[in-house]
């Protein structure tokens, strides 16, 4: 393997707390009722194409994408649609969802449910991207951007590298690590599929050294099989936000994505581990995205676990299976502690972007007293994008949106390193998000003129 690399500027070292890294993936029982939200990706929610009383099978399309940035939704269970109604999802808003009462586990016939590894990629580039689109695959690291859009390279651009985001730099989360350890061959075939889809000769798997077992396993498989030539394992220093798309590209290739541009500008296409595995299943097994690995964890959780969960399963069932809700819960977080979103309810449906459910008690998540900015500069040192969080937050607080734009607020990746490191506990990122939102509106309305 190559010597380990990292991105050059900023970053922090949160406590890793990978409590569930030794826990094998447990296939979670199929729920009695699945509540499948139609909006599971960044962009427009899908449109329901089933109605009350319809019988559905596992893998059947139940919601179609609306617009370019949108993804299809498939049934994760078999049974009868009881209603198409609204449900409160992890965002705390009521969103349209399809409610299905589960009966048995009947799959569509053309889905290959066996465990056989299929290495030969018979589909063409276009067919792969079509399959990825039809099977509703989105970025499963949490951003849920439709993957087919990512894989469709603009005509005037060329992909040189596929970069697999196996950094899993978020503390607590272990779902990608477990997937790599338990399904390394399937994952690597997935990488080959992505390479074919974007016509890239090389793939780099960027993986933090705290997952050295998985890195070595992959490296051995690649070295032992010429089929996987062109794929390279790149160990990375354990540092947050190593898995940020721009930081990952910088660490793996030394290239910098220009401000305001997409990764393809540097000839890179970045895909997450879980998405790569989903692409394998979709392309080689014709299986739509209907389940994912979810890490259920927290210091006070009795049995931190990794579950393979059908979408629409209630988060509460997962928490129960991990030992139940501990006392003094103050926060439930959808995702990891650095970028995840806190939820207002303990019972929400698992969807494509649910990488983890993190439970925190009052001891860990006590709101801290906010003090004066000391102008210590720690936030500047922590910012991986070379911004000045103290300045941005002040400008945003005072509604100075011309200044925030001039200070490159739109470059912020919202990793939260600044706030993590702030000795005065200033909610820097809250102000910056607000400023980014407003500045973005101003820029968009100006561009429309």
């Amino acid at each position: 393997m190559n010597p380990k690399k990292t991105f050059p500027k900023g970053g922090v070292h949160p406590e890793e707390n990978k409590l569930s890294s030794e826990q094998p993936i447990i296939t979670f029982p199929i729920p009695k009722q699945a509540i499948i939200p139609l909006g599971q990706c960044l962009g427009a929610p899908a449109e329901a194409i089933v109605k009350k009383g319809d019988e559905v099978k596992v893998g059947q399309l139940i919601g179609t994408a609306r617009g370019f940035i949108s993804a299809n939704v498939h049934s994760s269970v078999s049974g009868k649609v009881t209603k198409v109604d609204e449900v409160m999802d992890h965002t705390g808003y009521r969103k349209p969802a399809i409610f299905i009462d589960v009966e048995g586990d009947e799959w569509l016939e053309d889905i290959d449910t066996s465990d056989t590894l299929i290495k030969d990629i018979t589909l063409s580039r276009e067919e792969i991207i079509d399959r990825v689109k039809n099977h509703g695959i989105v970025g499963m690291g949490g951003a849920t951007f439709p993957t087919n859009v990512k894989l469709s390279i603009p005509k005037d651009k060329k992909a040189e590298f596929v970069i697999i985001n196996a950094a899993e730099c978020e503390p607590y989360l272990t779902c990608d690590n477990r997937l790599l350890l338990e399904k390394p061959n399937e994952f690597l075939v997935g990488v080959k599929v992505v390479m074919k889809a974007v016509d890239a000769p090389k793939a780099i798997i960027g993986i933090e050294v705290n997952k050295i077992k998985a890195a070595e396993l992959l490296d051995n498989i690649i070295k032992g099989d010429s089929y996987f030539s062109g794929i390279e394992v790149q160990p990375l220093q354990t540092k947050y936000p190593q898995g940020g798309e721009k930081q990952l590209i910088k660490a793996c290739t030394g290239r910098e994505v220009p401000s305001g541009k997409l990764p393809i500008e540097t000839g890179c296409v970045v895909v997450n581990v879980a998405s790569t595995y989903a692409i394998y299943e979709a392309v080689q097994k014709n299986k739509p995205l209907i389940s994912r690995v979810v890490t259920v964890t927290g210091k006070s959780v009795k049995k931190p676990s990794n579950f393979l969960v059908r979408f629409g399963t209630s988060s509460m069932e997962l928490i129960e299976a991990a030992g139940g809700l501990p006392e003094n819960i103050t926060n439930i977080i959808n995702g990891g502690p650095m970028m995840g979103k806190s939820v207002s309810i303990s019972d929400f449906p698992v969807i494509k972007g649910t990488s983890g459910i993190l439970v925190m008690t009052d001891k860990e998540a006590q709101p801290r007293q906010v003090g004066n900015c000391l102008r210590c500069g720690k936030c500047i040192n922590a910012c991986p994008m070379g911004l000045e969080p103290y300045l941005l937050s002040r400008q945003a607080k005072n509604n100075l949106f011309e200044d925030t734009e001039a200070s490159n607020i739109m470059d912020c990746i919202e990793c939260g390193s600044c706030e993590f490191t702030c000795p005065a506990n200033i909610p820097l990122l809250d102000y910056i998000r607000y400023g980014k939102n407003k500045t973005g509106q101003i820029i968009r309305s100006r561009n429309q003129k």
């Binding site: 650095m338 303990s346 490159n408 909610p427």
Partner: protein, 328 residues
């Protein structure tokens, strides 16, 4: 319904806090404090206690009756200011003068701008310079060190500082090499303020702060290096007019200023490039004042002058933005 906390990410914190930073600084000042007790005995304790108590009290009163905001006295920053102010004073200074200095340092230097983090000038230095101008005699009459152990080397009750002695000697036309021939840096012969006397103790505290990552190593090193380079060049050109550079490095308040006052977070630039400019400026101004100015010591003025440039430096010295490389 459950009452979960809804907050924006990140949901964990690095456990750095203002308190931790301030108490680290206080711990780092302890070696120098013990040194000053060794040299000046009970007087060092008296000056430090009065200064700290006055600073804390003034901040508390202003918080309570004028600002009426959240009380922040427990963050320890007033203690730091109090100790730094004490380190800048002679050990025989009357108590009321210390209290006046504390009122100016905290009241004008810090709280009038909005308290911690908002002050453009180092509060302890504001207090010190105010006292230097208001009470020039008391502020420059230095008691001779009377070590607790062993005997004092001279019978004199007051003595000059090393830099003061040199300045005076040079003014009288005595050659620099004669002035320093025998008596290089013996703190027992020359006096100074509480924090001026033990450069080694200051360095120990400074290294502690650098290891704890409270301060960066660049600022103090560059200040000291700038002073060293300019004074060495001058000394090599004309050893009759200029003294051995070691005296400038270890004499006076250079170490105290470089490690504890130029690194003050609120009054130093935010980025490393800015800090480098800031440090070179302090070093250069310090040695210019010492060599050619009217005062024998220039550290506090140099820091205050450069403090005034900090907003400008912050405006010019931006961190290198990610992805702003010019690329086709």
């Amino acid at each position: 319904m459950n009452n979960y906390i809804i907050s924006g990410s990140p949901h964990v914190h690095g456990n750095e806090s203002t308190k931790k930073i301030m108490y680290s600084v206080i711990i780092a000042m302890m070696p120098a404090f013990l040194f000053s007790i060794y040299y000046f005995g009970f007087d060092a304790v008296r000056v430090t206690l009065i200064s700290v108590a006055a600073c804390v009290l003034v901040e508390w009163l202003i918080q309570k009756y004028l600002v009426k905001g959240q009380n922040t006295i427990s963050d320890g920053s007033a203690i730091v200011t109090g100790m730094l102010l004490a380190f800048n004073l002679p050990s025989n200074i009357p108590a009321w003068m210390i209290i006046v200095g504390a009122i100016v340092a905290i009241g004008i230097g810090k709280m009038s701008f909005g308290g911690l983090g908002n002050n453009p000038f180092n509060p302890a230095l504001v207090g010190r310079v105010f006292m230097l101008i208001s009470f020039p005699v008391a502020m420059t009459t230095w008691p001779t060190p009377q070590p607790i152990f062993g005997e004092a080397l001279t019978d004199a009750v007051t003595g000059p500082t090393l830099l003061g002695h040199i300045k005076e000697g040079l003014a009288q036309g005595i050659a620099a090499n004669e002035l320093t021939a025998e008596e290089i840096i013996n703190p027992l012969i020359y006096s100074g303020s509480l924090g001026e006397i033990g450069s080694i103790a200051i360095i120990i505290g400074g290294i502690f702060l650098i290891i704890r990552k409270v301060i960066d190593w660049q600022t103090p090193v560059i200040i000291i290096a700038t002073v060293a380079i300019i004074s060495t060049v001058c000394w090599l050109i004309d050893p009759v007019q200029f003294v051995n550079p070691m005296i400038h490095i270890f004499g006076g308040g250079l170490m105290l200023g470089a490690f504890f006052m130029a690194t003050d977070m609120a009054t130093s630039p935010m980025t490393m490039s800015g800090k480098i400019i800031f440090a070179i400026g302090i070093g250069a101004l310090t040695i210019i004042i010492r060599l050619w100015g009217a005062y024998p010591e220039g550290m506090s003025f140099a820091i205050l002058i450069m403090n005034a440039f900090v907003p400008l430096i912050n405006k010019v010295c931006k961190p290198k933005r990610f992805g702003n490389t010019v690329k086709k």
